[in-house]
């Protein structure tokens, strides 16, 4: 067991897979010699050399296109898109190319690749470098979508993503890069499509993703300590495939559902989960489903303003208190 930061876990996960399989190659802007702008890929270039760890021009379409062409002809590429906001400049590959090649070709082509990208707010970078855009990819049939919240999950889910035969969009949260956590020694391989119950509770189910997971955990400790409300916290981890069994099973036990989402409210991932819960466990619910989200606005740069718009532990506590009492 070693204590690693979330960013060190990224490098460890990539290294683990590159050591295991020579077909795994890695490309992106500033990822090789510079070790990544977030220092999440430090040491990979030195370890695996210039043929497997490659710096690219600032050409997001070329990066994702090259990853796709390599994937469909036998490699297992990992591509980095520095900020998830930049997925918008290469969205054709996310929306039209990766996820449709298998279907349109009636199974002749495959696209086994991973796109890693820095997602989320907290860095005071403003509206074009701070968004949580996991819902952009969740809506597209053919993609898988993962967003880990802890260093151990980064390694295990990244390994699972690299080994997965489908295209996986892997959202790393920028505000978690510095967070430390225990990571087991040796090879780690997790499973996509599995949510994790991080805290058991009787009174309400709180579902969160990425940076919202530690915030939800902090909130439920306050609720337990100060208000005697005992919440269950589920880290969704994987939006596609979605582990609805774990989620619905928890709601059946607690009778209440809260989602904590960093993406802006409209069509956020929690809306889909709320819809599933309403369809499939309506009679288990003892009260309305409540979504706690970022409002439907672009993100501001100023720290005080950014702090207001993201769900905070205090806001989570407040929302749950209002709904439960």
């Amino acid at each position: 067991m070693a204590e690693l930061t979330y960013r060190e876990a990224v490098a460890r996960g990539i290294a683990q897979e590159m050591e295991r399989d020579e077909r795994v190659v890695f490309l992106g802007e500033d990822v090789a010699k510079a070790g990544g702008v977030f220092k999440a890929t430090v040491g990979l270039y030195e370890k695996f050399g210039p043929l497997r760890v490659r710096d690219t021009p600032i050409s997001e379409q070329a990066i994702l296109g090259a990853a796709m062409g390599a994937a469909m002809t036998g490699l297992r590429p990992i591509a980095e898109i520095m900020f998830s906001d930049f997925l918008a400049v290469c969205f054709d590959f996310i929306a039209n190319e990766f996820p449709k090649s298998r279907y349109m070709s009636n199974g002749q082509l495959a696209c086994p690749l991973v796109v890693r990208t820095g997602n989320g707010a907290g860095s005071r970078f403003g509206a074009q470098h701070s968004q949580s855009v996991e819902n952009w990819s969740m809506m597209i049939p053919g993609l898988k979508v993962v967003a880990p919240s802890s260093p151990a999950d980064v390694v295990g889910l990244l390994a699972a993503a690299v080994r997965d035969p489908d295209p996986v969009i892997f959202y790393e949260h920028k505000s978690l890069y510095a967070v430390k956590g225990e990571v087991p020694d040796g090879e780690i391989l997790d499973k996509l499509g599995t949510a994790k119950i991080l805290r058991s509770g009787r009174d309400a189910t709180i579902i969160a993703l990425a940076l919202m997971v530690p915030r939800a955990m902090e909130a439920v400790e306050i609720l337990a300590r100060d208000h005697g409300i005992d919440c269950e916290v589920i880290d969704v981890r994987s939006l596609v495939p979605l582990d609805t069994q774990t989620i619905l099973g928890s709601i059946a036990r607690t009778g209440r559902l809260f989602t904590v989402e960093e993406n802006p409210r409209l069509c956020g991932w929690g809306a889909e989960i709320a819809s599933i819960a309403a369809d499939e466990c309506f009679y288990d619910l003892d009260g309305p489903i409540v979504r706690i989200t970022t409002p439907h606005i672009p993100l501001p740069a100023a720290d005080n303003l950014e702090d207001i718009v993201l769900p905070t532990p205090a806001r989570i506590v407040d929302k749950i208190m209002r709904a439960m009492t």
């Binding site: 070329a62 296109g65 062409g69 002809t73 490699l75 039209n96 298998r102 489908d166 979605l242």
Partner: protein
């Protein structure tokens, strides 16, 4: 259907037999750098594309070809010239105007027409349609309907060859309109910087869709004039001359296989029909089509074969074999059922299904 076994044009097999007989009696062919067998293959490919595309249009008028389709009538020499120079294992990436390139790699006409007619016997059982023709076994790695997308994808396929030390070449076909989209420029720069074994082929048919390419492009030759900006040689070839195309392709492939990086080739040509089935091409100046019809690549090549001493009988034999195969292909497509509903949800994910949740 058994005739097509090789991705680089099983068409050459039969053609070669009759041509070798001809060669003995025709000194002109003996001194030809392309050779009798290859010439017959090039004609065979062009003729097949021509009659198959015409048939696709007829079937559209009968409401048997559904959706949209983009024909390569008039552009056959490019598909034939490149496919004729490709080896088994080389990869083709096409656009939505990809019927010609798909056929040229040896995909049977029935499989292609079946897809256009959205029948169960189609290349992708009706799941892709005219704009997404794919036959991985023939090296046709897809037809891409978003302008520019497949240039970076072709770079990736070439990167794989470079990384694994394979000697195949990736060939990426696109229209003149593609030269004004960002992905074109990203891919060219990327391919040069990484020295990838990829050959980019621009089919300049003078119109991006309905608008003349010259009206919307800063340079005269939309692809070739951009080549020097990426450190590439400016290459323009007569796209209505299959021999010229074939020679140019050979040179570019040799460069790619030698590890000397990519090429960008602009082929000047003209499409005889509109942009898509919905377009009668009314925007073209009077007389332009007629002028280009004088340079119809199929007719020109047929005349060249005669110049080289190939007998009318040998040429007709090739044409008849294709006509017969096409007639049978159409009958088979008409007889084929539509795709069964159970394939609707197959192959969304690699497990074969579409499950996004447990």
């Amino acid at each position: 259907m058994a005739r097509k076994t090789s991705p680089s044009g099983g068409a050459g097999k039969n053609a070669g037999k009759s041509a070798s007989k001809t060669r003995e009696n025709t000194p002109k062919l003996a001194n030809d750098d392309i050779g009798a067998s290859k010439r017959m293959e090039l004609y065979r490919l062009q003729y097949e594309i021509r009659v198959c595309e015409k048939k696709a249009y007829d079937l559209f008028l009968q409401n048997l070809v559904k959706g949209t389709s983009h024909l390569s009538l008039g552009q056959e020499a490019i598909a034939a010239g490149f496919a004729g120079a490709m080896k088994k294992g080389d990869l083709s990436f096409c656009t939505y105007r990809g019927h010609a390139h798909t056929l040229a790699r040896g995909v049977p006409m029935e499989k292609m027409l079946g897809e256009l007619m959205q029948r169960d016997n189609g290349l992708m059982r009706g799941k892709g349609g005219s704009m997404h023709l794919t036959s991985a076994e023939h090296g046709v790695m897809g037809s891409y309907a978003i302008i520019g997308a497949h240039l970076p994808i072709a770079c990736g396929a070439a990167w794989r060859a470079q990384y694994l030390g394979h000697d195949d070449v990736t060939v990426c076909f696109f229209g003149d309109g593609t030269t004004n989209i960002g992905a074109f420029h990203e891919a060219l720069n990327f391919a040069v910087v990484w020295k990838l074994p990829v050959v980019f082929v621009c089919e300049n048919n003078l119109y991006m869709e309905y608008t003349p390419i010259s009206d919307v492009t800063a340079v005269e030759h939309p692809a070739a004039d951009r080549a020097p900006a990426y450190g590439l040689e400016k290459i323009i070839v007569d796209g209505n001359d299959a021999d010229a195309v074939y020679r140019t392709a050979q040179k570019a492939f040799a460069k790619a296989r030698a590890g000397e990086g990519p090429s960008l080739i602009e082929c000047k040509t003209y499409r005889h029909s509109g942009h898509s089935r919905a377009d009668p091409g009314a925007y073209r100046p009077k007389g332009e089509l007629e002028e280009w019809m004088k340079r119809d690549p199929v007719k020109l090549y047929r005349a060249r074969l005669a110049e080289f001493g190939v007998s009318e009988k040998d040429i007709t034999a090739i044409e008849k074999a294709i006509d017969d195969e096409l007639a049978q292909a159409v009958e088979n497509c008409k007889a084929s059922p539509v795709p069964p509903e159970e394939i609707l949800t197959t192959d969304v994910y690699a497990d074969g299904g579409w499950a996004w949740r447990n």
